[in-house]
């Protein structure tokens, strides 16, 4: 009971989302670090789609379903969709910087929501 109260579905989804955004930050940083590496293919970490699919399909009631979400939200993909440069790399630094900024804002939003969630709990505990 107390477990459900403290670690409910919203907190769990927010935690997974924040963790995904944090890992995506690493992958995007890697693209930027390799902007001058010839032949480098850009990578991305697609957690948002996997996470929302997992949430809508299971509703993660059991711990087994929760660990399923954990697995579903882990995949680094090679992205060959953007045009190649002369040196065989397809990293566009402007796109990467935009994705990075967006990812940072998303992460901050998840953390703020999680914080508000904790605030609600705190209010309930203290009764004021």
């Amino acid at each position: 009971m107390i477990d459900r109260l403290i670690y409910d579905n919203t907190s769990f989804a927010l935690e997974r989302a924040a963790s995904g955004a944090s890992q995506r930050q690493g992958v995007l940083s890697n693209n930027i670090a390799n902007v001058n590496t010839p032949g480098y293919v850009r990578k991305d970490f697609e957690f948002a789609e996997a996470l929302s699919d997992a949430i809508s399909s299971s509703g993660f009631e059991s711990s087994a379903e929760r660990s399923g979400i954990q697995d579903a939200s882990r995949s680094v993909v090679m992205d060959g969709s953007t045009p190649l440069r002369m040196d065989g790399s397809n990293v566009d630094v402007d796109t990467e910087m935009a994705s990075l900024a967006k990812n940072t804002i998303e992460y901050n939003a998840f953390i703020r929501l999680l914080n508000d969630k904790i605030g609600l709990m705190r209010t309930a505990i203290q009764g004021r």
Binding site: I32, T37, K43, M78, L100, N108
Partner: protein
């Protein structure tokens, strides 16, 4: 993937771009050097970048690397393109026909490389900054 991986990856990018900048500086400084430690005129050098395979994301599977681990300078190679021949019979390093072999450094190429390295450095610094800010935000959870 640990909390500081994004920071380490950006740091690897920063140090690689700095090395590229050092190489460009050496090329510009030696644009007219006719005597090197190996003998003969200076040859333009170039930093070769290579991707580092990380464990996060699976690493190298069947020759294709999906892991993320940053970047490193694999080696600094000499440019083997022909040297610049300038007619200057009075020069002590001139050959029998009066031609001096000057380094194959093209100042315009070096300038372009320099700007490219400096912009890439800035991009890495920005990525580092956002990752740092994210880590600081996580520390504020529950405050």
């Amino acid at each position: 993937m640990s909390m500081f991986d994004a920071l380490n990856i950006s740091a690897s990018g920063l140090s690689a771009e700095r090395i590229r900048m050092d190489v460009v500086s050496a090329n510009l400084a030696n644009a007219n050097t006719t005597r090197t430690l190996d003998g003969g005129p200076y040859r333009r050098r170039e930093a070769l970048f290579s991707e580092v395979a990380g464990e996060f994301g699976g690493g190298v599977v069947n020759g294709s690397n999906s892991g993320v681990g940053g970047v490193r300078v694999a080696s600094v190679v000499q440019d083997q393109s022909p040297l610049r021949m300038v007619f200057d019979p009075g020069h002590p390093d001139a050959d029998a026909n009066g031609y001096v072999a000057l380094p194959n450094v093209n100042v315009v190429t070096e300038m372009v490389d320099m700007i490219s390295a400096s912009r890439a450095y800035e991009a890495n610094a920005t990525a580092f900054q956002s990752a740092k800010q994210m880590a600081m935000r996580a520390l504020e959870l529950g405050r």
